[in-house]
């Protein structure tokens, strides 16, 4: 592409980003496995990344892409901490079921 994107073609890329985001949202609420729940938040991040870069291309400057760097940073930090916590919780109850923690009793 030569750098000129009609706004309906932009909508196509936004569609992909929105679908990925919605899929991540549904997965997060639906799955009961703690690890898969966090994987679905990463899927939401993917949707956001695609949307950001599509807008960066549409506007012709690179601010969207610079922001994606920050999104990647936060995603990595969140993944590390979330998985450490999940491993800790697994050691306590020997199950990855989110319902095991439903009454919030530590």
């Amino acid at each position: 592409m030569t750098g000129e994107m009609p706004s309906l073609v932009l909508s196509h890329f936004l569609l992909t980003g929105a679908v990925l985001f919605a899929l991540g949202l549904i997965g997060f609420v639906t799955r009961r496995n703690l690890i898969i729940m966090f994987l679905c938040t990463e899927l939401m991040f993917q949707g956001v990344v695609v949307t950001l870069v599509a807008f960066a291309f549409y506007h012709g400057n690179l601010e969207g892409q610079s922001f994606v760097i920050f999104v990647l940073t936060i995603a990595a930090a969140e993944a590390a901490l979330a998985l450490a916590l999940v491993v800790l919780l697994f050691r306590r109850r020997r199950t990855l079921d989110a319902a095991a923690w439903a009454d919030l009793r530590g």
Partner: protein, 382 residues
């Protein structure tokens, strides 16, 4: 550009929701899941076909668009498999497929650094961590038999409510994305100062006369004079003269006339033409950045071509014109990585520092959390 009817959008969303509901993990419903998969694929394909009717005539640009369809399909299929797969080990693997497809999409959008950073960081680091943790923290199941998987993997929790809410959100997002709306510049008509800022941020004019290396003025002010001189030499805009003059002498070798004009005069003349074209191109400030960039490139090409014809005493042939256009484009091209680096360090250095601090804190936190010794609570109750 067309207006996508809301009814088709909502119909596609409802069909997609039904399809996803059918694909959710549920006890003993394999046939239903397959039907759901087919229905989902048909919905997505149908919606794309419907959207394609409104596509403007892309002409030569249509080929990268085929890439969009392929990568999007892979990404969406992978996303669906991530959330509907019964066994937790496979979800990160499907997610890797989503990452690769996203990287492909980003390549189509000319974001090569982000595409490969995504593959490296997500696929190479984050997902590897997920797979390892899943292997460490999973309960043993038979590989072939689905019914021995733990209940919390086999059955979806509140699938109907989740799907309804999720697809409602999707429908709203898509509605916002596909309705026709004015460009961001037009809407700022009533706020002139905001409009100027939007135009100044776009580097269509800056790209014209400056090298990518540009030092902020306030940095240069604080330097000692001798340092400033040294740095200013490094940050001077690269002259476009050398490649153009080389091309001119190469084109001119075919002429019979041996006594070409003086090299310095040629250089000055070309530089004047370049800067003059830059000044006239300032009238394209009002356009969207990518339109402005192309208009600026055309202005430059015309101005330099005029000078070339004057020197060669003949109009340029199409092949030569193409070479000239390529030489100009090569000179003005800025690497994607370079531009991102400049944007990050000039635009938000504070954000960069904060990102580093966040990573450090996350590192310390993860190590501390992992070191805790935990008593097993299930010893008595099971």
């Amino acid at each position: 550009m067309g207006h996508v009817s809301s009814f088709s959008l909502f119909a596609a969303t409802v069909l997609g929701a039904i399809a996803l509901l059918m694909m959710m993990p549920r006890p003993g419903g394999v046939a239903l899941r397959r039907i759901g998969a087919v229905l989902g694929a048909a919905t997505l394909g149908g919606f794309w076909l419907w959207l394609a009717r409104f596509l403007p005539d892309l002409g030569a640009n249509a080929t990268p668009f085929a890439y969009y369809y392929v990568f999007s399909a892979i990404a969406i299929i992978g996303g669906v498999r991530v959330i509907t797969h019964t066994r937790p080990v496979y979800s990160p693997l499907w997610f890797v497929m989503v990452i690769l497809a996203s990287a492909g999409l980003l390549l189509v959008l000319a974001a090569e650094f982000i595409a490969f950073a995504l593959v490296i960081i997500y696929g190479g680091a984050i997902l590897v961590t997920y797979v390892f943790v899943i292997m460490l923290a999973s309960q043993a199941t038979e590989a072939s038999d689905d019914s021995t998987a733990p209940a919390y993997d086999r059955i979806a929790r509140e699938p109907l409510a989740a799907t309804v809410v999720g697809f409602l959100l999707l429908a709203m997002l898509l509605h916002m994305a596909t309705i026709e709306r004015p460009s961001s510049l037009e809407r700022l008509e009533d706020r002139p100062e905001a409009r100027l800022r939007v135009v100044a941020d776009s580097d269509s004019i800056i790209e014209l006369t400056t090298l990518p290396r540009r030092a902020p003025a306030r940095v240069l002010e604080r330097l000692r004079p001798e340092d400033r001189e040294h740095l200013a030499a490094e940050f001077e805009p690269a002259s476009p003269v050398k490649p153009l003059a080389a091309l001119l002498s190469e084109l001119g070798d075919d002429d019979e006339a041996d006594d070409g004009p003086d090299a310095d005069d040629v250089a000055t003349d070309l530089l004047e033409a370049w800067e003059e074209a830059g000044r006239t191109a300032a009238e394209y400030e009002d356009e969207l950045p990518h339109t402005a960039r192309r208009a600026v490139a055309e202005t430059l090409l015309e101005a330099v071509e005029q000078r070339f014809s004057a020197y060669l005493d003949r109009p340029l042939e199409p092949a030569e014109r193409a070479r000239l256009a390529k030489a100009i484009a090569d000179h003005r091209r800025v690497d994607n990585i370079e531009r991102i680096g400049l944007d990050l360090f000039e635009g938000n250095p504070l954000g960069l520092e904060l990102a580093g601090v966040i990573l450090l804190v996350a590192l310390i936190g993860a190590v501390l959390i992992a070191r805790q010794r935990v008593t097993d609570e299930t010893g008595a109750g099971g």
